[in-house]
């Protein structure tokens, strides 16, 4: 039995001239929660709908639990899905809503009642069985949607931006509930969102997408710490990109030339001397020192802007015309115009190619 519960193999989907999914290949392990993360229009919802069967891909295959389901209609794929706008049946009570998938599968009444009760217990809404959706709050409605999706223990749970319509505090609570439920039931889940915080907090792995293609697939730590492309680096957290040229190779390192200064960073494949690349680092990893400091891996510049943010300072430093953003909790304060020395710790730096071309996966 393969490790993969869901496979999207080389999926391409076009809407007229727009390519919503461009040779997308994604493989999702059994029992993992994979998040599809990206801005609006990146193709994450299209990919999700290829899994559910609401979209039929122009090219490529969809496999669920080893079976090719590309030609299987939605209602026979045995999935559970939670929608952004809840999509509860307004003319049915909470328990009728949750019972619906069981009723469709022609389970007998007693079994159904038992499973519905269990499901309601899972989401802590046992007392609301006879209520109608319109009588519930947003958070409660979404929990009912979750119960309805999970009641018959499907192999796969799909969530399409389920928390977007809830307020911020509720979102955080529901995040934990969803993750908790998913882990307890051991169910494979695919989560779609544009909120990077959600993605980093919830997922086993994240697939970052942009303009119809997958930029990078990895754990939250990998996505944050070792972004593979400029888009991923830019989309997650704050970033600094400094134009540089590959000067030399040393052991496991690459030496980059930034104007007249030299910065050593961990090596990356596919580079050659003379390439134009981007030196990438997170603003709160850059160490800011007074100008006279003597250290390797430093660039000098002058403070251009300074912003006090309560728990930290946000500086924009002008390094030979390039603006480098630095965030520091440091006790030292620097004034505008002051000359400073920026230290780039070896381990925190990366090289990224300045390109929009999607890596073929």
């Amino acid at each position: 039995m393969s490790d993969w519960m869901i496979e999207l193999v080389d999926i391409t989907k076009r809407y007229g001239d727009l390519v919503a999914n461009d040779h997308v290949t994604l493989r999702i392990l059994r029992g993992e929660l994979m998040t599809l993360l990206g801005p609006s229009g990146c193709g994450k919802t299209t990919a999700l709908r290829c899994i559910t069967g609401q979209n039929i891909p122009d090219d490529g295959r969809v496999l669920i639990d080893g079976k090719d389901v590309t030609d299987v209609p939605t209602h026979r794929r045995d999935l559970g899905m939670v929608f952004q706008n809840f999509a509860l049946f307004p003319h049915m009570t909470v328990s009728e809503n949750v019972e619906f998938p069981l009723m469709i599968r022609r389970m007998n009444k007693d079994e159904r009642a038992g499973m519905v009760m269990e499901a309601l217990k899972l989401i802590h809404l046992e007392g609301y069985a006879k209520h109608y959706p319109r009588q519930l709050s947003g958070g409660q409605q979404q929990r009912v949607g979750l119960a309805r999706a999970l009641v018959y223990r499907p192999k796969v749970l799909l969530l399409d931006e389920p928390l977007s319509n809830l307020d911020a505090k509720l979102r955080e609570e529901m995040r934990f509930e969803i993750r908790d439920l998913q882990k307890r039931l051991g169910i494979t889940a695919v989560y779609v969102t544009h909120d990077q915080e959600e993605a980093l907090a919830l997922s086993d792995r994240v697939a970052v997408m942009n303009k119809g293609c997958v930029q990078q697939v990895g754990t939250p730590a990998e996505i944050y710490g070792q972004p593979a492309t400029k888009f991923v680096a830019d989309f997650i957290g704050l970033s600094d990109f400094i134009p540089a040229k590959v000067a030399a190779f040393e052991d496991n390192s690459v030496v980059l030339a930034v104007n007249s200064e030299r910065i050593r960073v961990p090596a990356v494949n596919g580079l050659q001397v003379g390439f134009d690349v981007l030196l990438f680092i997170r603003p709160n990893d850059v160490q800011i020192r007074p100008a006279q400091a003597q250290e390797d891996n430093t660039l000098t510049g002058a403070i251009d802007k300074s912003t006090y943010l309560g728990d930290k300072f946000d500086y924009r430093v002008d390094v030979h015309g390039i603006e480098v953003r630095v965030q520091t909790h440091g006790a030292e304060r620097f004034e505008i115009g002051e000359q400073v020395s920026l230290h780039f710790p070896y381990q925190r730096c990366s090289v990224i190619l300045d390109t929009e071309v999607c890596p073929v996966r």
Partner: protein
């Protein structure tokens, strides 16, 4: 009496006084004719300048039923209304579906054309309808009168149904599909219950419109297809206002009943909820 209390309280507030007085007058103006008719239909020996009839009787109703052959007339009204409702609804369902759920170029123009028969007073085209019907031998047939009624019944039905179908959220149908329901089961368990209030509302509007229609019936009826509104009109000509009043009461009562049913059946709150945001 809540309103009497409010009225007295309003006497202290000039603006409210004005508003309540206006409402009172409006209410009297609207209800007086009906009160007059109701009294006339049960009054005996009511001549001269008396405000109220001195005696009450049910004779006028008996007279109306026997002389004007109410059962036959009522039967015609109902049969024609039933035919008109069926035809209008059969037209309105696909039209409403298309207008409510598909992108159609010139949707506003089409909607305007559909509403045209209601915008133009029926008397303007009733004569034309009559001429065509003569040629087609549709005069004095139930189906003929019903077809004439469809022209004014269908617009309402289309309007109500198109907004009903528009309110049907695709994503709820998708949810049903993901839950395992194929197209047919989704239709029976989800679509139908959700559009039923709209369809009932459309049926009620259409029925009432046909039942009460006078002008078009006048131009297309014959001895075999006498409807209640036409018979009432003819009764005025016959001179016995008491009988006419009795007929009018018979005309009003089903309409009031239908109005009552509308209040109970079409519960808009059943159609919303379970959605958020868009």
């Amino acid at each position: 009496m809540k309103t009497l209390k409010q009225y007295l309280r309003a006497l202290l507030d000039a603006k409210k006084l004005l508003a309540y007085t206006f409402l009172l007058c409006f209410f009297l103006w609207v209800s007086m004719p009906f009160v007059m008719i109701a009294l006339k239909s049960i009054g005996k020996n009511w001549f001269g300048k008396l405000w109220l009839p001195p005696d009450l009787t049910a004779d006028w109703y008996k007279w109306a039923i026997v002389v004007t052959n109410i059962p036959e007339v009522l039967k015609n009204s109902l049969v024609i209304a039933a035919l008109a409702v069926t035809i209008a609804t059969l037209i309105a369902i696909p039209t409403g579906w298309a207008l409510g759920r598909r992108k159609i170029p010139g949707k506003e123009a089409i909607t305007a054309i559909i509403l045209l028969p209601r915008m133009i007073p029926p008397i303007a085209y009733a004569l034309g309808v009559a001429q065509i019907f003569y040629r087609l031998h549709l005069i004095d047939t139930h189906i003929g009168v019903a077809i004439a009624h469809v022209a004014i019944c269908a617009p309402y039905a289309i309007l109500v149904l198109s907004s009903t179908f528009e309110a049907l959220d695709d994503r709820v149908l998708e949810a049903a599909s993901v839950c395992g329901a194929n197209n047919m089961r989704t239709f029976f368990h989800v679509t139908l219950p959700l559009v039923m209030p709209g369809i009932l509302s459309s049926l009620i509007f259409t029925f009432t419109t046909s039942y009460n229609e006078f002008t078009l019936t006048l131009m297309t009826y014959g001895p075999k297809t006498m409807t209640l509104p036409v018979r009432t009109y003819l009764a005025i000509g016959e001179g016995y206002w008491e009988v006419t009043s009795a007929l009018s009461m018979l005309l009003i009562v089903p309409s009031l009943f239908v109005l009552f049913m509308i209040q109970r059946q079409v519960q808009p709150e059943k159609l919303v909820g379970g959605f958020k945001g868009v």
